[in-house]
Symmetry: C2
Subunit: 151 residues, 2 copies
């Protein structure tokens, strides 16, 4: 009887561990799909679609500017980047860790011109929140890895 309980317990542990791994993979897959939608919105110059990927109380923390709070401010910030020529943005996920309806992502980004010339590249951290069943960017900060010009 004891052996049977041990086996059942071991089985339950394997099932639970499997479910946890599968849930973690689901979050990463959802985030990577959102990143593709993000890049696609930038590519067609649609700052409103970019902003719609953020939560209603999101904050974007861009280099060279102040914190953009809320979707309107975030849309404006991305409109500025699009107007400055941002079209080909690649987002690569290095790490996703989820805790319930909150997750953090560490990744890298690369920006190219229309002709394929590399413009800039860097890193980012995003805090994602599941809002009305959808993973959305909640806090978003990035920087460039390009060393500053020598002075």
């Amino acid at each position: 009887m004891r052996r049977r309980s041990t086996r059942l317990l071991a089985f339950a542990a394997v099932v639970l561990a499997g479910a946890a791994v599968s849930a973690a993979e689901d979050v990463r897959a959802a985030i990577e799909a959102n990143n593709k939608a993000f890049s696609a919105a930038v590519a067609r110059g649609d700052a409103a679609a970019v902003a719609a990927l953020y939560t209603s109380t999101a904050q974007a923390l861009p280099p060279g500017g102040e914190i953009a709070r809320g979707r309107d401010a975030i849309q404006k910030a991305f409109q500025g980047m699009i107007d400055a020529g941002a079209t080909d943005l690649t987002l690569s996920t290095l790490e996703v860790e989820a805790h319930g309806d909150t997750a953090h992502e560490v990744g890298t980004w690369a920006l190219k011109a229309k002709d394929g010339t590399a413009l800039d590249k860097g890193k980012f951290i995003v805090i994602w929140k599941k809002e009305t069943g959808q993973w959305r960017l909640h806090r978003d900060i990035w920087n460039s890895s390009t060393p500053p010009p020598a002075r």
Copy 2:
């Protein structure tokens, strides 16, 4: 009897909610204390003490450079900043949100020269992890809010 259970349940809910608020305040207080230790280590030019505030598997994502992985690389990155004249660093916490042994912090930073002149300021996001009973920086990214010079 039912009324009594309802009252007990309401009491338990208030106690639990109070404990959650208190735990959240504890995390924020611990993080703010660590930030003070961080600034103090920078002020005395002690890059090893800065690196010791990070987890053993930490990553720092500085602007103008690649990801520094692990305490040795992080120490080296901060030694570079200290050698470049960083001494008076103020870290201000805007938001802390904890999920078990993981928390994220959103904040701002300001760097001054020894004579009090403002050098630069910006924003950061840190993912904190409780490691061996201590909250430590696990993922750390920051950028400058200063607009780039016109080209």
